[in-house]
């Protein structure tokens, strides 16, 4: 089989979709306009004492199961619910360690905090921490996310310190296990 043959077969394997259908493309501009309007709607305000602890409010996800993403996504927002951020990050080596499986070790930090705005601050802080790839500072930066997301002094310095230490130790590839620090669950595992 020639290279050209292979290219043609791979190109031809592309499933046809209706993305070009005029009835669908006509909806894309209104969808974008609706998204733009939704994106600039005023942030919801927090009402103390009305939090429902079990409902996730903000989910921040970094990367996929294999890749380190430099971006973060705010998944959802509802007023007065507890925030939930899931942060997945790989260990401080080449995320494409080619071990035949393709999945490097990774850590997942699940942070719980109250929301005080639309989550944009948390998103920005986490994104900056990961984009900088300054692993030595990641722990304290994520602790800041928790502290600021909490929006009050009640988180407790011990919890923040534990989180900080936990994240730092999690960046040690030798660590495998799960730890829980107050509202923070930290898991480091082998191949994802």
């Amino acid at each position: 089989m020639t290279t050209t043959d292979l290219d043609e077969l791979l190109d031809a394997s592309r499933p046809a979709t209706a993305a070009d259908d005029p009835r669908i493309t006509a909806l894309l501009a209104p969808l974008s306009a609706a998204a733009r309007d939704a994106a600039v709607e005023p942030a919801t305000t927090r009402v103390p004492g009305r939090r429902r602890a079990s409902l996730p409010l903000v989910a921040v996800a970094l990367g996929g199961s294999l890749l380190l993403g430099a971006g973060a996504l705010v998944e959802g927002l509802q007023p007065d619910h507890q925030a939930h951020a899931e942060i997945v990050f790989v260990l401080p080596d080449d995320p494409f360690v080619d071990d035949g499986v393709g999945a490097p070790a990774r850590c997942t930090a699940v942070l719980l905090f109250d929301v005080v705005d639309d989550g944009a601050h948390e998103q920005e802080a986490v994104e900056t921490a990961v984009a900088s790839r300054d692993w030595s500072a990641l722990g304290s930066q994520l602790a800041d996310v928790v502290r600021q997301g909490r929006g009050e002094a009640g988180l407790g310095a011990d919890v923040v310190d534990a989180l900080d230490a936990g994240l730092r130790s999690a960046l040690d590839p030798a660590l495998v296990g799960t730890a829980r620090y107050g509202g923070v669950s930290l898991t480091c595992g082998g191949a994802a």
Binding site: M1, L6, D7, L9, L10, D11, A12, S13, R14, P15, A16, T17, A18, A19, D20, D21, R23, I24, T25, L27, L28, A29, P30, L31, S32, A34, A35, R36, A38, A39, V40, A59, A61, G63, G64, S65, L66, L67, L68, G69, A70, G71, L73, V74, E75, G76, D94, P95, F96, D98, V101, G102, A120, E127, A131
Partner: protein
């Protein structure tokens, strides 16, 4: 993909909005196709596009000024939205309801299942990352260097994985030929 690289400077909101609108209009159709080829049921693609556009507009200050960079940035967001979708399932986005309805009514993918397609069946035997590299090149039309940007990966790594994946596919297709 560094979010700050080549981004527009704040202070000119009209220019920024016009630029963002142009980028979104030029790229949304391709992003919708990207989702339609990767998720089932296809109506979920409407919600994923809605999610992507929400993130794009929330983070519009980070939109690269260069149109190609902006396109890659938007696909990078789409990839992360898809990754989240695969971990946590679909999330209905109200603003995408009309598009969802249109896809439901008219269908969006008129193709046999991947397992019944000889090339796509072979593709499923590759690692998820290698599958995605092949798809981004041959389905979405990206150059390898751009695939690396979308995946936030090293170009050399993407090149080597692409070459290895092609070799595996070539072997599989040769084997299929011998059997037929």
């Amino acid at each position: 993909m560094s979010p700050g690289r080549g981004t527009l400077q704040p202070g000119r909101p009209g220019d920024l909005e016009a630029h963002a609108t142009a980028v979104v209009e030029a790229t949304s159709r391709d992003v919708l196709g990207y989702f339609l080829r990767r998720v089932g049921p296809p109506e979920d693609a409407a919600d994923l596009l809605g999610e992507t556009l929400l993130v794009v507009w929330r983070r519009v200050d980070h939109l690269p000024a260069d149109p190609l960079e902006a396109r890659l940035w938007m696909f990078g967001i789409a990839r992360r939205v898809l990754s989240t979708h695969r971990r946590s399932g679909a999330r209905r986005v109200a603003l995408a309801d009309r598009l969802r309805g249109e896809i439901e009514v008219h269908g969006a993918v008129v193709e046999p299942p991947d397992a019944a397609h000889p090339v796509r069946a072979l593709l499923l035997e590759l690692s998820p990352l290698d599958q995605e590299i092949i798809r981004l090149v041959h389905w979405e039309g990206f150059a390898l260097v751009d695939v690396a940007r979308v995946l936030d990966a090293k170009p050399a790594t993407v090149r080597s994985r692409y070459a290895r994946a092609r070799a595996a596919l070539r072997r599989g297709l040769d084997e299929q030929d011998r059997r037929s």
